[in-house]
Symmetry: C2
Subunit: 353 residues, 2 copies
């Protein structure tokens, strides 16, 4: 395959990765098959360098890299799924990094292998994504039982979500049994993370004032646990009060599909208090949901959900791959929003073009 | 156009309505142009029979009817948008019909013209949809200032949502200045309704027990108001207590995009208490959001949202209109869920087929 055909411009990664017009025959290329097996064997041997290289393929916008990544994941599928996947969200300032350091070290002290991933569709690697700076979690990043991977560079939420899902699978195949997926708590990405984890943890601060400004409505009702962070020093009593208030509020919410009653607790990342309770509740949750069947059912539903999301995106990208369609859709949308034409007229015009 | 080409089988209504392969030239057909103008003039003259006929076209699964409906709406667009659109949800048993009767009569007493619509994608007209039985709102249905329209018959949520959006526009052109859109509160349809109204009202009962079983998590955080219904007789004190609890809980939620602080109040549909307060708060909300610009911004965003939803659906339908694609997608999905292949492999296989 010619090099020129592989050059993919930014912003069309989904199109390129799924566009059937860009066929290659990697699987028939002996050199690449070997290469795929090298990755597969390396990852199964828990070689972190091979894991990182594999994730780099997953995150690449190069079509051929994608095909290789896809083959690697396919071969690793039987070795995936054996981790507890935990989503962590909270607005900037809530102390996510410090919490993850303390929580991560606690998890590792329980003889677990921990991978920390992140979703931040707005990030640009050049501008420093969340987790991009490993000094943010200095101790954890030096721990041989922890693997920290920054958020893939910006793109559509669907693209970033796919990369994070696939990275999770690679980490599982590499023996990581606890995966934390961090998100910034201010946009669409929480819903995405909620749909790819077993347990969803919301970090909050005491007080319902400015600290809450950034959090999107609806996230509280997704949470399996609310941890009031920074419950230390002068803040301790305020945090304890907040705990009572949130407990009362959560009690008014409708029951969860998992039959789990969401917990509220306080913790301090700096004093390392309450961290054990967070973990204990997660273990309780996993036990409960494995017993009542929700755990497996939820994972299957998530797989189905993401398959449908990715397929929808692929069909859309295929449609918009034709020249000028995107521009035409945009100008029709503007006319619909201005009230000049109906949606139906606009859609018919676009579909007939 | 031949009659046979117009026969649309059930379950493919979106395909039929938007499929460019089914072209007609209604606009060049003199008879139909006259017909369109008859509808338009009739609706603008507030002729309820013409309104009902127009809505029937909107709800039809017949492609030609759709095209006529689209032309009617296009001509009426300049006369639309002048109503307050209110979504009402709550689980079965909360007393939605009785509330809407009492609330509707109060609204009419304020010299308003009221239309009551419903969204219930699960309904089958033959099995009696919500609002299908007008005796449910006996007094309101006899009131000359009220127009009650049952939910369109079952289909995809997108299809039902489009029909309800278009029906709203027709009602506005016919002079209705207050539109209630009712939904059952147990599925996806609340999010859809929330995205097509100015104000979203959640009806609840006192007590957080069994009454809540059906409500989906996330709906409470969407509500601009929670009204604790049936606050009468023995239930009065319980309802007042619930009001305090929910007020405290809502206080902990992050601020709304509209800057509105969601209200909690009690009401009794049978004793007609609290109904005036519900209306007063809605008027306050409309005033606030018109002043701060949210009202107009939100409407534009909603139009954009639905255009994108309908367009996505049309592109999907167009893709699946090819023979066997749907079956192939289903069988690939099953393999993905079983963990036999990755999403990417499945998608590539489908896109290349």
């Amino acid at each position: 395959m010619k090099e020129s055909a592989l050059k993919i411009s930014k912003g069309v990664e989904q199109v390129s990765s799924l566009n059937p017009n860009l066929k290659t025959n990697v699987s028939k290329n002996k050199k690449n098959v070997l290469k795929v097996d090298e990755y597969v064997q390396g990852i199964l041997k828990q070689d972190l360098l091979m894991l990182s290289k594999g994730i780099t393929l997953v995150e690449s916008n190069n079509h051929e890299h994608h095909l290789i990544a896809s083959e690697i994941i396919e071969k690793l599928l039987p070795y995936t799924g054996n981790s507890i996947r935990i989503g962590i969200t909270g607005v900037p300032g809530v102390g996510k990094s410090t919490f993850i350091e303390a929580f991560g070290e606690y998890i590792i002290s329980k003889n677990k292998k921990l991978a920390v991933l992140a979703i931040d569709p707005t990030s640009q690697r050049s501008h420093g994504s969340i987790l991009g700076d490993k000094t943010r979690m200095e101790n954890l990043s030096k721990n041989p039982h922890a693997y920290i991977r920054p958020s893939p560079a910006g793109g559509s939420l669907g693209g970033v979500a796919r990369k994070t899902r696939e990275t999770t699978l690679l980490c599982e195949a590499a023996g990581f049994d606890t995966i934390l997926i961090e998100t910034v708590g201010v946009g669409q990405s929480e819903t995405a993370v909620h749909s790819m984890v077993d347990f969803f943890l919301l970090l909050m601060l005491a007080g319902a004032g400015d600290e809450l400004q950034g959090i999107k409505r609806g996230i509280m009702e997704m949470a399996d646990m609310i941890a009031i962070n920074k419950a230390d020093g002068d803040n301790f009593h305020k945090a304890t009060g907040a705990k009572s208030e949130y407990s009362a509020a959560l009690h008014l919410f409708p029951p969860t599909a998992s039959n789990w009653i969401p917990k509220v607790l306080t913790c301090s990342s700096t004093e390392a208090t309450g961290i054990d309770q967070v973990w204990n509740h997660i273990e309780e949750y996993i036990q409960l949901t494995k017993e009542n069947g929700y755990y497996t059912r939820n994972r299957k539903e998530q797989t189905r959900y993401w398959f449908r999301e990715f397929l929808t995106e692929a069909i859309q990208d295929n449609f918009y791959a034709k020249p000028n369609r995107k521009e035409k859709a945009k100008s029709l949308e503007d006319r619909v929003v201005k009230g000049e034409i109906t949606s139906l007229t606009a859609i018919r015009e676009l579909m007939e073009s």
